[in-house]
C-alpha cells in the first residue's frame, strides 16, 4: 500500500509532469488562461491517463512490441473520444473554450509517456496510482499556472474580480505570459528541489 501511495505522490512533486518532466507543455501553454479552463483540461487529461494506464497495463502482454505506439494511440483515442463527447454534452461552454485541445489530448506527451514508460512495464494497481498521481500533478500545475495568469492578466480568479483599481497586464493572458510563468515556476521548483538533498538529480 505504501508503494502505491508513493506512485501517487511522485506524480505530484518529484516527477510532476509539467515542472519536473516538462511533458505536455503544449496544452499547458494553450489553455492555462483561466482557472476553469486549466482545471477542466486537467480533469480531462486525468481521466484519459487513468483509463489508458489501466487498459495498457492489463493487456501489455498482448501488444506486440513493434506496433505498441499505434496500439497505445488507439486506446488513448478511445478515452479521449469519451471525454470529448461527455464534455460536449454536459459542459458545452468549457468544451467551446478548450476547443481543439480536447481532441489533442490523444497526442499529449504525458498520456503517451506514461503508457510507454510506466503502464507497459508495471501491473494494473501501480499503473492506476501512477495515472492518478500524474493526472493530479498535471491538474495542480495547470491550476497554479492559470491562477497566476488569470490573476495577473485578467484581474480575476475563477471569474471573480479580485481587486479594484488593479490594471491587469494583458501579457499574461497572451502566449508570452504562459512561457514566462512556466519558466519562472520551473526555476522556483528547481531551486526548491536543489535545497533538499533527496530531490537532487
Amino acid at each position: 500500500m505504501k508503494r502505491l501511495f508513493h506512485e501517487f505522490l511522485k506524480g505530484l512533486f518529484h516527477e510532476n509532469p509539467t515542472f519536473r518532466l516538462a511533458l505536455g507543455l503544449c496544452p499547458t501553454l494553450a489553455v492555462s488562461t483561466s482557472i476553469v479552463n486549466g482545471f477542466g483540461m486537467g480533469c480531462a487529461a486525468t481521466f484519459v491517463l487513468l483509463g489508458s494506464n489501466i487498459i495498457v497495463s492489463s493487456i501489455k502482454n498482448l501488444i506486440p512490441g513493434k506496433i505498441r505506439i499505434p496500439c497505445f494511440i488507439v486506446i488513448i483515442a478511445t478515452f479521449v473520444t469519451i471525454v470529448e463527447l461527455t464534455m460536449k454534452a454536459y459542459f458545452p461552454e468549457l468544451s467551446k473554450s478548450l476547443g481543439i485541445f480536447v481532441p489533442l489530448i490523444v497526442v499529449n506527451c504525458v498520456v503517451l509517456g506514461r503508457a510507454e514508460a510506466f503502464a507497459s512495464k508495471h501491473g494494473v494497481a501501480r499503473s492506476i496510482f501512477d495515472g492518478l498521481g500524474m493526472g493530479a500533478g498535471f491538474t495542480l500545475a495547470l491550476v497554479l499556472i492559470s491562477a497566476i495568469r488569470e490573476g495577473l492578466g485578467n484581474g480575476t480568479l475563477m471569474g471573480l474580480v479580485i481587486t479594484k483599481g488593479f490594471e491587469p497586464a494583458l501579457l499574461f493572458i497572451l502566449a508570452p505570459g504562459a512561457l514566462l510563468v512556466i519558466g519562472i515556476l520551473i526555476g522556483i521548483v528547481n531551486y526548491l528541489t536543489s535545497l533538499s538533498p533527496k530531490g537532487r538529480g
Partner: protein, 314 residues
C-alpha cells in the same frame, strides 16, 4: 632578482583604460541631449518618468544582486542607470507612475538578472521592459501627448500610426515637434549624442549605418504605392529608428562581435522594422526588430567567425 618585476599573464597585454563602468556612463551622458529635448518638448512630467524608471532599475538590480549573494553596490555600475534611461526614452511622456516602475523591474529582473547579470543577457533589457509594457498595457503605451505648445495637447497618434502622415514637415520631425516617445522625437539631439559615441569610438558605424540604410532602402522600395516610391526620409525621421539604431542595437552585450556580423545584424533589424511598419499590426517595429535580431546574434557570430591570427586554413 625578485620575480615581481615581471608580470606573467595571458593576453591581452595592452588595455585601453576604458572600463564597462566608464562606457556605461559615457553612453548615458551622450543620451542627455535627447532627454533634455524630451523634457523641453513635453514638459516636466517626462522628467518624472525618467527618474522613476532609473530608480526602479537600480533598486531592483540591487535587490536581485543581494538575493544572489553579490555586492548590491554593483547596481551603480551604470548599466542599470542606462537601462532605466533607455526604457524611459521609449515611453510616452505622460503615463501613470507605475508603468515606468514595472517596466524597470521587468527590464532588470527578466531582461537581465535572470540570465546571470550584465554580460549574460541575450536580449536588450530596456527593450524587454518596453515590449512587456507595450503588450500588457497597449492603451497607455500608445497614448501620445503633443508638444506642450500644441493646440490640442491631449493625445494623438505618432506620425507613423496616422493615416496621411504628410501633415508633418521634415523639419518638425527632425526637431521633434510632434507626439511620440519622449526620447525618440528629437532626432537632432539624438544625433548629437550619437556623434559623441562615434567620435570616442564607443560604437562603430557598422550597425547604425546598415540598420538605417536598410530601413531607408526598403522603405523606399516598398513604402509607397508601387515600387521605389516610398518616402524614405519619413521612415528615417519617425519612430524610434535613430534611438534604436545608435543606442540600443549597438548594446555591447547583445550585438554581434565582428564587422561583417554587425552589418548582417543591422540589415536584419532594418528589414524587420520596415516589415512591421508596413505590414505588421503595430505602427512601430524598431524594438521588436532589435529583439528578434538579438535572438539570432549567436548564430550570426557563429557564421562570421574571424580567422585566428597566424592560422592557415587546412
Amino acid at each position: 632578482m625578485p620575480d615581481s618585476i615581471f608580470t606573467v599573464s595571458p593576453a591581452p597585454h595592452i588595455k585601453s583604460g576604458l572600463s564597462s563602468r566608464k562606457i556605461m556612463y559615457l553612453v548615458a551622458l551622450s543620451l542627455l541631449p535627447a532627454g533634455i529635448a524630451g523634457v523641453y518638448i513635453f514638459g516636466l512630467s517626462s522628467l518624472k518618468v525618467i527618474a522613476l524608471s532609473i530608480l526602479a532599475c537600480i533598486a531592483s538590480e540591487a535587490v536581485f544582486l543581494k538575493l544572489r549573494n553579490k555586492d548590491p553596490m554593483v547596481a551603480l555600475d551604470g548599466s542599470a542607470i542606462l537601462t532605466g534611461l533607455l526604457l524611459a526614452y521609449n515611453l510616452p511622456p505622460e503615463i501613470p507612475f507605475w508603468i515606468p516602475v514595472i517596466g524597470g523591474v521587468v527590464s532588470i529582473i527578466i531582461g537581465k538578472q535572470i540570465f546571470g547579470g550584465l554580460g549574460h543577457n541575450i536580449f536588450n533589457p530596456a527593450l524587454v521592459g518596453r515590449v512587456f509594457l507595450q503588450i500588457s498595457w497597449p492603451v497607455y503605451m500608445t497614448t501620445w501627448k503633443n508638444p506642450r505648445w500644441a493646440v490640442d495637447a491631449v493625445s494623438t497618434a505618432t506620425p507613423l500610426a496616422r493615416e496621411g502622415a504628410a501633415s508633418f514637415s521634415y523639419m518638425d520631425l527632425f526637431l521633434g515637434n510632434h507626439g511620440g516617445c519622449m526620447g525618440e522625437v528629437c532626432i537632432l539631439a539624438l544625433l548629437l549624442g550619437a556623434a559623441v559615441l562615434l567620435f570616442t569610438k564607443i560604437i562603430s558605424f557598422h550597425i547604425p549605418a546598415s540598420f538605417i540604410g536598410a530601413v531607408m532602402l526598403f522603405g523606399w522600395i516598398f513604402g509607397g504605392e508601387g515600387f521605389f516610391k516610398g518616402d524614405f526620409i519619413f521612415h528615417l525621421l519617425t519612430g524610434g529608428l535613430v534611438l534604436g539604431a545608435f543606442f540600443m542595437a549597438t548594446d555591447y552585450v547583445t550585438r554581434p562581435l565582428t564587422k561583417k556580423g554587425k552589418v548582417i545584424f543591422g540589415i536584419g533589424c532594418g528589414l524587420l522594422t520596415i516589415l512591421i511598419r508596413l505590414r505588421g499590426g503595430y505602427p512601430e517595429g524598431v524594438s521588436y526588430a532589435i529583439l528578434f535580431m538579438n535572438a539570432v546574434v549567436p548564430m550570426i557570430d557563429r557564421y562570421t567567425k574571424t580567422r585566428k591570427y597566424g592560422f592557415v586554413q587546412g
